[in-house]
């Protein structure tokens, strides 16, 4: 049972892959945008932060599920 729980937690944390790809894409696009329009960097940074937080939340959900699998009896 314990081993299966560990495998399940590992699978749950795989949400981080998608979040990582998404955050990389978002940051790349933001860098491009700042390169094109440096004067708008403040607004772009704000939107980037918000987008990163929303993207990150998928990874966080996976983390919560994994922690629940491991630490709740």
């Amino acid at each position: 049972m314990n081993g299966l729980a560990a495998i399940g937690a590992g699978i749950a944390v795989f949400t981080g892959v998608g979040a990582g790809i998404g955050m990389g894409l978002a940051t790349g696009k933001a860098a491009e945008a700042i390169g094109r329009q440096p004067e708008a960097s403040g607004k772009i940074n704000m939107i980037l932060m918000l987008g990163l937080a929303l993207t990150e939340s998928t990874a966080i959900y996976g983390l919560i599920v994994a922690l629940m699998i491991i630490f709740t009896k």
């Binding site: 932060m49 918000l50 937080a53 966080i60 983390l63 709740t72």
Partner: protein, 299 residues
């Protein structure tokens, strides 16, 4: 504890302490005089002396702490805060810690209200300038994000930010942050949910709010309602997961370093306990305002 006070350990402590003090003494002595020229070689030599001195003092402190530390086996994380006895009541410890954070936030605010605000004048003092900047920043931000001019909303957002920052910084004093308890984050996001519906109903009325769910086509009505209900859940889980994740990372760092956990956790804690919570607080208020703005927008 007896078997840890071995001769070898005492020798190591003495050697590292002496080496550290000696290296720092050399560092202090090699300070160039006023007339002397500062070359690159002297600079790098002084830097190396300082680094080595601090390193050996750090090693010494680790060995000294090793006498008193006890090994912990494995990492255990409680998903909920431990219960504690407070004046005869059995309550969650996160409640008590958030009361402490509230006291730290509220007492200066009350003092400012009683003693500083009556003295406001046209030529602002330092505190007045800071307060006016904070209030105008928050109200501009609120109006920009949610398109609502309301002192109540401004006050709510500023209070939320202060409370969340206060809660997050309790971790610096080795308490478990109240925001790593899902009950705390969920109650905050429920308040936001109430605000979303209050402003939505106030601006549009019951019929207008219901019909705004059925746009652009009526088929999406249940999904729009579901996504509105999911908003507070996602807010709560995001804050909770981030705070718990930061806490676990710091626990892991302390466990890996063991008795040598002097200095290094302070640097890492600057990111995991200060910068990261601040970003999360910003995200929380921004998303609250965005949801409220979504509820009141006229389409």
């Amino acid at each position: 504890m007896k078997e840890r006070l071995t001769v070898l350990r005492m020798v190591v402590i003495g050697v590292t302490l002496l080496a550290g003090v000696f290296l720092l003494y050399l560092h202090a002595r090699s300070r160039p005089g006023k007339g002397e020229e500062i070359t690159k070689a002297i600079k790098s030599k002084r830097r190396n002396l300082l680094l080595l001195g601090v390193l050996s003092l750090w090693l010494c402190s680790g060995f000294v702490m090793g006498i008193f530390s006890h090994e912990t086996e494995g990492l255990t994380v409680q998903m909920t805060s431990p219960r504690m006895n407070f004046l005869g009541f059995d309550i969650s410890s996160s409640v008590v810690i958030s009361w402490m954070a509230m006291i730290v936030v509220i007492v200066p605010v009350v003092l400012i209200r009683l003693f500083v605000i009556p003295k406001f004048s046209d030529s602002p003092s330092k505190i007045q300038y800071i307060l006016e900047t904070a209030v105008s920043t928050i109200s501009d931000y609120t109006r920009e994000k949610s398109d609502i001019r309301s002192n109540a909303l401004n006050a709510y957002i500023l209070t939320l930010a202060l409370y969340l920052v206060g809660c997050a910084f309790t971790e610096l004093f080795s308490f478990r942050p109240p925001t790593s308890d899902i009950v705390a984050t969920f109650s905050l996001s429920l308040v936001t949910f109430i605000m979303i519906n209050y402003y939505g109903l106030k601006r549009k009325g019951v019929g207008g709010r219901l019909s705004s769910f059925a746009k652009p086509i009526p088929v999406v009505f249940p999904f729009r309602v579901l996504s509105d209900i999911a908003a507070p859940i996602s807010l709560a889980c995001r804050l909770f997961g981030n705070m718990l994740g930061g806490m676990i990372v710091m626990h892991l760092i302390y466990q890996v370093l063991g008795a040598f956990g002097v200095g290094i956790p302070a640097v890492l804690g600057l990111y995991f306990n200060v910068f990261h919570p601040l970003i999360q607080v910003f995200i929380f208020i921004t998303l609250s305002l965005t949801f409220i703005g979504e509820a009141v927008e006229s389409n």
